[in-house]
Subunit: 252 residues, 2 copies
Amino acid sequence: MAYTVGQVARAARVTVRTLHHYDEIGLLRPSGRTSAGYRRYDEADLDRLQLIRYYRELGFPLEEIAEILDDPDADPVAHLRRQHELLSGRIGKLQEMVTAIEHAMEARKLGIQLTPEERFEVFGNFDPDEHAEEAEQRWGGTEAYRQSQERAGRYSKEDLLRNKAENEDWGRRFVALMDSGAPADGPEAMALAEEHRQLITKWWYDCSYEIHTGLADMYVADPRFTAHYETLRPGMAAYLNEAIHANAISRS
Amino acid sequence: MAYTVGQVARAARVTVRTLHHYDEIGLLRPSGRTSAGYRRYDEADLDRLQLIRYYRELGFPLEEIAEILDDPDADPVAHLRRQHELLSGRIGKLQEMVTAIEHAMEARKLGIQLTPEERFEVFGNFDPDEHAEEAEQRWGGTEAYRQSQERAGRYSKEDLLRNKAENEDWGRRFVALMDSGAPADGPEAMALAEEHRQLITKWWYDCSYEIHTGLADMYVADPRFTAHYETLRPGMAAYLNEAIHANAISRS
DNA sequence: ACTCCCGCCTCCCGCTGCGTGAGGGTCAAG
DNA sequence: CTTGACCCTCACGCAGCGGGAGGCGGGAGT
């Protein structure tokens, strides 16, 4: 059972050119040629082509497909599993975008016109346009940054207002603690530091103790962040820094 | 507030080269240049870039994005809705592939080794390799073909056996009817023709009366299909053809 | 005022995965 | 022995950038 390019092309729903291409790059060489130079594909070639098409559908680059197919001791089950994961990931990403779009539609319907500033107004003093670039430099490319960007896009106006309220509540309690004269490395301060960490984790990204202390250092090192906390209460940046460090140390 | 390429690039998580490219093709021209020729982007440019990135994420080609963004009276809500649909479609497709992969994994786990022949063995005499190409020529590219291909991939071995059983049951009853001497355009024959159509619809694709009569004609025109029905009972191809036509006429 | 170095500029070539001819041989049917 | 449908091999083109060469600009430090 030998097939010509045209037959194979029609059967596999690809163009002849594609088969030529696969031949050129060595991805799918026909098992033989006629005396006139015509490509002859056999059943095994068809099987291989089916696999190729399948992987292609999944978005694999041709080179990678070649590696997969030509790896003799590659575990097919592992491949399937891997593909499954990749697909699930892609589905997840697409679904996130869908919800983002739904949000946007909701906003339009209500005439809310969710401008970028509006989306970030909950950040208070932190003007996103002013600091976005810096944020990118500091955290760009990290998982944490990706997460927070992603979530920011999904939150509704109410969500963000709720977040703001929670932050303010925490801030009031923190100021009260400072006013009470409690030490920055005392149990209450550490508890509030921990709460601060969890607020970040809840709303934005998984904030490890390492990341948290990094943030703490920034609060005293970067004047803009310092200013934000200092307006809540003078001395707060340094106090919070100490509390976060104390908390991180005690937990590890 | 003017930004340089580098700043914009970092903020938007794209490369400088990409911004150059967008400038070149006119997709995003910076609002101005400095005396030295440096590109200067303002807030509006950033907004536009955000939209561009968004549409790009969704897989739109740049040209189309330009059309969308430059269409002054384009309804943004309509766009969102359209994107939503596209995304939903994509998710659906990916999910189908996931289930297909899951099936394949199940089969591997049980050591079943679902070879192509096995997958199609329920087709009986119809050797897929022998007819796949023809099928493509006849139906390739049609919605019906796509549907049946898609479903075939999702069916489990049990599903396919069930389908086979249902077909055989229908076949037996059809043969019995012929044996009884009932006319091919009588009510019983038409009822069984209708059932035939519904079996196809249930298992493979939406089989309209038009498609159904097309199939009927093929049963008498194509010797391979003729042979399939003739082995069930001599004269069955022609009888079934008549019954299907009678049924289609009476229903329209 | 001078020097650095980083960032900006404009070419321009390269990559993937083919599409789409051009120009020419081949094969089966009539 | 011709037709028409295939087949062959170049070979260029396209999107959407990546990446580098070669050269200017600018602001921070000395």
